[in-house]
Symmetry: C2
Subunit: 620 residues, 2 copies
C-alpha cells in the first residue's frame, strides 16, 4: 500500500531549497517511514522540534503527519508502543524532554524493550551551550552530568545517541531509526535545542533509509532448512508454536504459509495471539437476533464447514493451558517455535516445559535446532526458503477445539467472565484491533476468545505494566484514523466520493476498573484526536487479579468506585455514548445491535461483574 | 507534640511475643518515625508487605497508620514527597513493586532527590529463590540481572539496600531510615517477598532509631560563629536569604530567631517561601464584606501596626526579581544565605549573582564563608550557637514592601492573574498548606502572594515535574487528616467532646489546566481517603507557560478543554462542591463567604483566565 505522496507533492517544494533544518530532516525521515502520528508532551526543551512536525505536515498535506499531544509521557510512550504494534510502519515515535519528562516514561520504554517493540524515543535536550556552561545544574540532580538520563535509558534501548556534531547527526539519526525497525526495540535519540534549526544539505534525505535485513549465509541457511525438513518428515506428532516475534518482524504471511503447507497443528502463546488466523467466525453471522440458535455452538458451525477449519489448536500457556491442549503439546515429538521473544521460555507465571528434545526455535535473527545455535540468520528469509522446501505432512491428530458456545440462559442471568468472553468473541469482526489490559482479568479472558481473520491483538503480557492498554488504545485509534485517511484519499483519487467511504475499522479495549484508574486521563487524548474506540470497563470493584493471587479480602484491593458514565463528559467529548451491561440479556442486546457495532463514536461500556469472578485460566 | 501511644497500648501486646516478622518490623519503625500514611499501589511483589500495614494499624488503633492506595506509582511518589514536606515526620514513605511499578515512579523520586526531600522508597521484590533460579527472566529485561532497577535508582537515592540476610536486615532498614531523615533525600530499600514473614527478635525495635546529628566540632563551630559575628558587625547593608533547606531540616525557629535578633532584612528564594514568617495578614480581617475598604491596601494596614511589621522583604529570584528587591540585594555588602539546596545558585531560569564577596552559605551539613569551606558542620546546632552570640544590628534600610492591594473595580471586571494572586493572598489563613504547581502560572503567581504565619508552601521549583502538585496535595491532605485525628484523640482524652473539635486546617492547591491533565486521576485517592482540599484550576486553555517561553500561538499548547464540574462525579465523591469564577465579583463572593472558607468538603474552583495572561514574574 503506497499511500504517501512524498515524491509528488513535496518534490517540487524540496527542489527549490537545497538545505533543510536538522529538525525537519528528522521529522521527514519519520514521515518516510510511514509514521503518521507522533506522541509526547510539549515542554521546554522540545518545543522547537515539535514545530517541525507542523512544518512537515504543512508540506505534505493536512493529517499527513501529526502531533498527538498526550497528557503525560508515561501514557504517550504506551501510545507509541501500541501504535507500533498495529501500524504498518512497525514503529512508534515519542518525543519527550530532558530530565523530568523523559524519566516519566522509563517504565513504558522498559516495557517496549522487554516486549520487542520498535520505538523511537526522541529527547529534546538543553542546548550544547547550556550543557558546557552547566547553566542548569539543578536539572542534572546537582551532578553536572548531562548524560545521566541517557545512561539510565541505555538499559532499555537497543542503541542510543546524543547528537552534537551536525555533520554526523543525519547519519546517526538514520542508524538509530534502522536499528529500531530491524531489531524491533526502542532506541534513544537526544537532540540539543541548538541543533534543531541548523541547516544541513538535503541530499541525504533523498535516499531512503535501507530497512532490509542482510541476506542469510546460504550454506548455513541450507543446513538449517535441511535439518528442519528432516526432523519434520520423521516426526509423528509435530506442532508449531507461534509467538509475538512473528507479528513484530512482519512474518505473518510466511508463518501462515508454513502452517498451510505442513498442516501441523498450531498453537499460539498468549503474546502470539493474533499472529496467525485462528479460524474464528465472529462478525455478522453470529450477531443475528432472528436466529439465536446459530450462536449456540460455534463448534458445530465449524464442523459443518460454515467456516474453513483451521489447524489452530488454541493458546498454549505451559502448565496453565487447558488440559486438552496441555495433553496435546505433551505428546508432541517435534516443536517448531516461531518468533519467541524471550531468550528462555519462562515468564512470571508460565513455564514452558516441552517433553521432547526436538525443539526448533526460529527467532528473528537466530535459529536454534535442538542444542545447535545459528547466529545471524533472519526469520523472514529463512521461512520463505523453508516454505519452498518443506513437504506437506497431514497430521492425523485431532486438534483440540475451543469451547466456543454459550448455553441458552434466561436474559436476566448475571454476567460471568466465562460467558462474557465467549459471547464477545463472536462479536469480533475481521480486521478488529483488540487491546486487553495485561495483569487484569481481561488479559486472561482474551485467551478464551477466538479471533476472526486479520485481527491484531495488543497485550503487554511479559512486562505487564498496569494502565498500559489505554495508551495502546490511543495508538490503535490513531492507526485506524490514518488508515481511513489514506484509504479515503485513495478512493477520492480514483472513484466518485459517493458510497465509497469504507466501513470503519474498530479498536476495542478491555480493561479492568483498577487498571483504568492508572491512566484514565489519556482518554482525553483519544477524544481530542477524534478516536472512536470501544472501551469495555470490566468493573469488578478492584484488583481482582491481586485478590486471586494473594488474599481474596485484602482491603487494599478495593478501589474507589467511579461513576464511569462521567468519563465522556469530563473529557468534553462531543461524540460518545455510555452503556452498562449486567446480564446476559444486556450483553446480547448491544452485541445484536448493528448501530452499536459501527465505530462511529467513543463507546464506553461498563461490564458489571462479580468481585471474585475471573476467567478460568486466571483461577487456575 | 507526642501524639503516639506506642509505649502504652502496644507495649502489652509486644511483651507477649518475643519475635516479630521483618515486614512488621519495618512498618513499626515507620510508625515510630510518626509516619501516618504510606503511599503506593498494591501489586504482585508487595502484597505481603502491605498486609503488615493493616496488622500494625490493628495493634496501635484505627487510623494510627494507613495505606493510601494510589492510582499509580508516579502520583504515589509525588504524594509521599508532598507528605514529607509538610509532615512533622519530615519523611514520606512509598511502597512500589519490582520492575514496572518502581520504574513508574523514577521521575518523582528524582524530583525528591533534586529538591532534598526525605523519602523512603520500599520496593517489594521477587523472592530470593526466584532470583537465584532466574524464574522470571522476563522481568529483568531478558538480562537475568535482578539488580538492574536498583542500580538505576542509585542515581537518585542517597543510599540503598536490597535485603537478603535476615540478620543484617533490621540494621540495614534502620541505617536507611536514618539517612533519609538526616540527609533529607530519598533512600531505596528492596525487600524480597520471602523475607517479609521471617521472624526476628523484637529487641531491636525497642530502641528508637537515633535521629540526632553528630555534634559539631566545637573549635570549628567557634571559628565560624566568630567570623559570622565579625562580618555582621561591620556590614552596612547585610541581608539574609532563606532557602528550602531551612524547612527540610527543621530549622525554621532557629532562622526566625536569627532574623529577630539581627533585624537583618530577609528575602526568600522561590523554594524558600514559607520558611519564615512573612508577616502577611490574610485570614478573617480582610475577608469582611462589610468593610471592603480594609482590603484595599494591606500595606497601609501593616504600617498602621495592625500586624507586626516583619523584616520580610519578599522573594528574591535573581535577575527576575522585582526592581526594588533586585536593587536592595544589589547593594547588600553581606549576604547570609541559609538552607540553599543546590550546590550553586543557578537554576534553569534564575542566576543569583551577588555583587558582594561577603557571602556566607549555611547549608544543612556544611558552611562556606567567602571561599572557606567547613565540612561536617550542621546547620541546626550552628544556628543555635550563632543566635546566642550574634548581636542585634537594627538596619536602617527600608525594606521593599510587597504591593499587596487591589484597586476597586466593577464586579464584572474579568479576572487577571495579577489581581487574582493579590486577592487570594488575603484569603489565606495562618497554618494553611498551600501547594502550587511548578512550571505553571501558579508557581509564578504564588510568588506574588504574602503568607500569614505558619503557612507551609509546597512547590517543586527546581525539578518542575508537571502534575506533581496533585500528588503533593494528596500528601498534604493526609497530613491534615492525621493532625486532626491526633488532636481529636488528645482532646477526647482530656476534655469533654462538645465544642472541642478544632477548626480544620486547610490544604489549597493552585494548578493549571494543562498540569491537571497530567495526573488528575489522583484526585480519586484524595476522595477515597476523605481529603477535603481546595483545588483552584487556573483555566487558561493550555500550556500558557510554554506559550510565553516559546510561541504564543503554537497549536500544541492548546489542550482538550475539560468539563471540570464532572471531576467530583467521576471520582464518585459524596462530599464536593464546584465553583467557577470569571470576574472579580465572582472571586470576592467566594472569598467573603465564611462557609467557603471552611474546609469541610472537596472544593473545585475553576478560575477562568485569559489564554495569554500570566503573573508578572513569568512575563518577565
Amino acid at each position: 500500500m503506497t499511500l504517501f505522496c512524498y515524491n509528488s507533492a513535496s518534490q517540487k517544494h524540496q527542489k527549490t531549497i537545497q538545505q533543510i533544518t536538522l529538525g525537519r530532516y528528522l521529522i521527514e525521515r519519520l514521515f518516510q517511514l510511514k509514521i503518521g502520528t507522533i506522541f509526547g508532551v510539549s515542554r521546554d526543551f522540545n518545543l522547537s522540534l515539535i514545530d517541525k512536525i507542523y512544518e512537515v505536515e504543512s508540506i505534505h498535506g493536512k493529517d499527513s503527519i501529526k502531533w498527538a499531544g498526550n497528557v503525560n509521557e508515561l501514557n504517550a510512550a504506551f501510545a507509541a508502543d501500541g501504535y507500533s504494534r498495529c501500524s504498518k510502519s512497525h514503529l512508534g515515535v515519542l518525543i519527550s524532554s530532558f530530565g523530568s519528562g523523559e524519566l516519566t516514561c522509563l517504565n513504558s520504554i522498559a516495557g517496549s524493550f522487554a516486549e520487542h517493540v520498535g520505538l523511537i524515543h526522541i529527547v529534546g535536550m538543553p542546548s550544547d551551550v547550556s550543557q558546557s556552561k552547566d547553566l542548569i545544574l539543578s536539572h542534572t540532580l546537582d551532578k553536572g552530568d548531562f548524560t545521566i538520563y541517557h545512561k539510565i535509558f541505555s538499559n532499555v534501548s537497543e542503541t542510543n545517541t546524543i547528537l552534537h556534531d551536525i555533520l554526523e547527526a543525519p547519519g546517526e539519526i538514520d542508524r538509530c531509526l534502522k536499528i529500531a525497525y530491524l531489531k524491533q526495540k526502542p532506541v534513544y535519540i537526544g537532540i540539543p535545542q541548538n541543533l534543531i534549526d541548523v541547516l544541513i544539505p538535503i541530499t541525504q534525505l533523498e535516499t531512503p533509509i535501507d530497512l532490509s535485513t542482510p541476506s542469510n549465509a546460504s550454506d548455513v541457511q541450507h543446513e538449517i532448512v535441511s535439518s528442519i525438513c528432516k526432523l519434520s518428515k520423521t516426526a509423528k506428532n509435530p506442532i508449531i508454536i507461534v509467538d509475538a516475534g512473528v507479528s513484530r518482524h512482519d512474518c505473518k504471511s510466511q508463518v501462515s504459509k508454513l502452517i498451510e503447507t505442513t498442516q501441523f497443528p498450531t498453537f499460539v502463546t498468549p503474546m502470539g495471539k493474533s499472529a496467525i488466523d485462528e479460524g474464528g467466525v465472529g462478525g455478522e453471522i453470529f450477531n443475528n437476533e432472528e436466529n439465536p440458535l446459530i450462536f449456540q455452538n460455534v463448534q458445530t458451525q465449524l464442523l459443518e464447514g460454515k467456516s474453513v477449519p483451521s489447524k489452530f489448536g488454541g493458546v498454549y500457556i505451559g502448565s496453565l493451558s487447558r488440559p486438552e491442549i496441555k495433553k496435546f503439546v505433551q505428546k508432541a515429538d517435534l516443536v517448531i517455535s516461531v518468533g519467541t521473544l524471550s531468550s528462555n521460555f519462562n515468564t512470571a507465571l508460565i513455564s514452558f516445559d516441552y517433553p521432547t528434545n526436538n525443539v526448533i526455535e526460529i527467532h528473528s535473527d537466530h535459529i536454534k535446532i535442538k542444542q545447535a545455535l545459528y547466529q545471524d540468520i533472519h526469520m523472514k528469509e529463512l521461512l520463505t526458503k523453508l516454505n519452498s522446501k518443506i513437504e506437506p505432512c497431514v497430521s492425523s491428530s485431532i486438534i483440540p477445539q475451543l469451547r466456543l458456545y454459550n448455553t441458552p440462559a434466561p436474559v436476566e442471568t448475571k454476567l460471568t467472565q466465562s460467558w462474557f468472553w465467549t459471547r464477545v468473541s463472536s462479536w469480533f469482526r475481521p480486521g478488529d484491533i483488540i487491546i486487553s489490559e495485561s495483569g487484569s482479568t481481561s488479559s486472561f479472558g482474551i485467551l478464551e476468545t477466538r479471533f476472526p481473520s486479520s485481527v491484531i491483538a495488543i497485550n503487554q503480557t511479559l512486562w505487564s505494566s498496569i494502565g498500559y492498554s489505554i495508551g495502546a488504545c490511543l495508538g490503535a485509534s490513531m492507526v485506524i484514523k490514518e488508515q481511513e485517511f489514506h484509504l479515503r484519499n485513495l478512493l477520492l483519487a480514483t472513484k466518485p466520493l459517493k458510497d465509497q467511504i469504507p466501513q470503519s475499522k474498530r479498536a476495542t479495549l478491555f480493561i479492568g476498573d483498577g487498571s483504568l484508574q492508572f491512566s484514565i486521563n489519556e482518554i482525553s487524548t483519544i477524544v481530542k484526536n477524534g478516536g472512536t474506540p470501544y472501551i469495555f470497563i470490566l468493573n469488578n470493584s478492584g484488583y481482582t487479579t491481586e485478590r486471586l493471587v494473594h488474599d481474596l479480602n485484602a482491603k487494599y484491593n478495593d478501589i474507589q468506585n467511579w461513576d464511569y458514565t462521567s468519563i465522556g463528559q469530563l473529557f468534553n467529548s462531543k461524540n460518545y455514548e455510555n452503556f452498562k451491561i449486567e446480564t446476559q440479556g444486556d450483553a446480547n442486546k448491544i452485541f445484536y445491535d448493528k448501530s452499536f457495532g459501527k465505530p462511529d463514536k467513543l463507546k464506553i461500556i461498563e461490564v458489571k461483574l462479580d468481585k471474585f469472578d475471573a476467567p478460568e485460566s486466571l483461577i487456575k
